[in-house]
Symmetry: C2
Subunit: 198 residues, 2 copies
């Protein structure tokens, strides 16, 4: 890496720190930026800083929003007594795209992951516990279906169950359009466990 | 895309404009940045702006460098009478990594690509023509082996040949370690055309 200016090397390192960006992609991005006009680069960094300055966590559900209370929490049309707990704002957006869910959300901004040192105090659990003191009928756990998501779901279940609030978790099974022979064994067994009488 | 703040949507669009970054990756990057601390984001944008402010094109070979004349052009150890013409600073770095080439470079910062409206005046050809007025013995064409690189190589050949300067192009053929059965037909035919008597 002595073939470039140290400024470019530093920039490549900075890009390579982003998730999903390897060294080759980081190089491509750095040279792309270097070949752009001053205005284009300024516009790029301004967009980042502006977003960072204006976006905050919703005081209610902890999603990323540019308002104090996000539009979903603020909407009188949503059923505030049903909370779907998701890991990220992206997961929330995924369910919003279905257009069918009428409850509200709680965004944990992460999942319990002891391997990476992320414990119960590092995600937005305290805020959820506060919300449960209100008039809540059901908490739908929609964390991801991996090890961390499962651990988080189990923790949430044990936390909420004693309060008497109904706790459910979204179904795990073969996705629509999925070919049985292409599905992993764990999913097949989960689909079997979760079978529904017809 | 109405599920996020407009600031995040704008940021996602900005990331999606980068080469090799699709919509999903852009989302991941935008949310990653939003979840970082103010200092980390500031450091990221500062690195970009600093690199952009300090990096320029070498007055001689047009590579990206933080000096007026890049270290290779400035080095008395390099043979300034042999110029290898490459498309990008990355290509130059690739040959520098071999540690064997002793000549200098000329970085076109692109290749002729009429389909995308990139003509002979959009790449650093004028600067190369200027350099050829000096004491140059050989120009080695090392543009990429695709359609644009080939078109650029042909143009360079026709431009330089009449001046009497020796023009060569790096060999095209089966890469070292390449399995013949896995190599495309065009490469196999090029390797055949370029066969060398043993």
């Amino acid at each position: 890496m002595d073939y470039y200016s140290s400024y470019i090397t530093k920039l490549i390192e900075e890009f390579a720190r982003l998730p999903g960006i390897g060294n080759k992609s980081a190089q491509r991005l750095a040279f792309h930026v270097m070949n752009q006009s001053d205005e284009q680069v300024k516009h790029f960094t301004d967009t980042i800083l502006e977003a960072k300055a204006n976006v905050q966590y919703c005081k209610c559900c902890c999603t990323l929003t540019d308002k104090e209370i996000c539009p979903i929490c603020a909407s009188p049309k949503r059923d505030a007594s049903t909370i779907m707990v998701v890991e990220t704002t992206k997961d929330m957006a995924a369910y919003e795209k279905t257009g069918q869910y009428e409850g509200v959300y709680h965004v944990l901004q992460g999942a319990i992951d002891p391997m990476r040192g992320i414990g119960v105090n590092d995600i937005r659990l305290r805020e959820l516990v506060e919300r449960l003191k209100g008039d809540i009928k059901e908490v739908i756990i929609a964390t991801n279906l991996g090890v961390e998501g499962d651990a988080t779901a189990l923790y949430l279940r044990n936390l909420i169950k004693p309060t008497g609030i109904k706790v459910t978790r979204i179904a795990s099974g073969v996705p629509v359009g999925g070919d049985l022979e292409c599905i992993d064994e764990v999913t097949l067994l989960r689909a079997l466990d979760g079978r529904i009488e017809q």
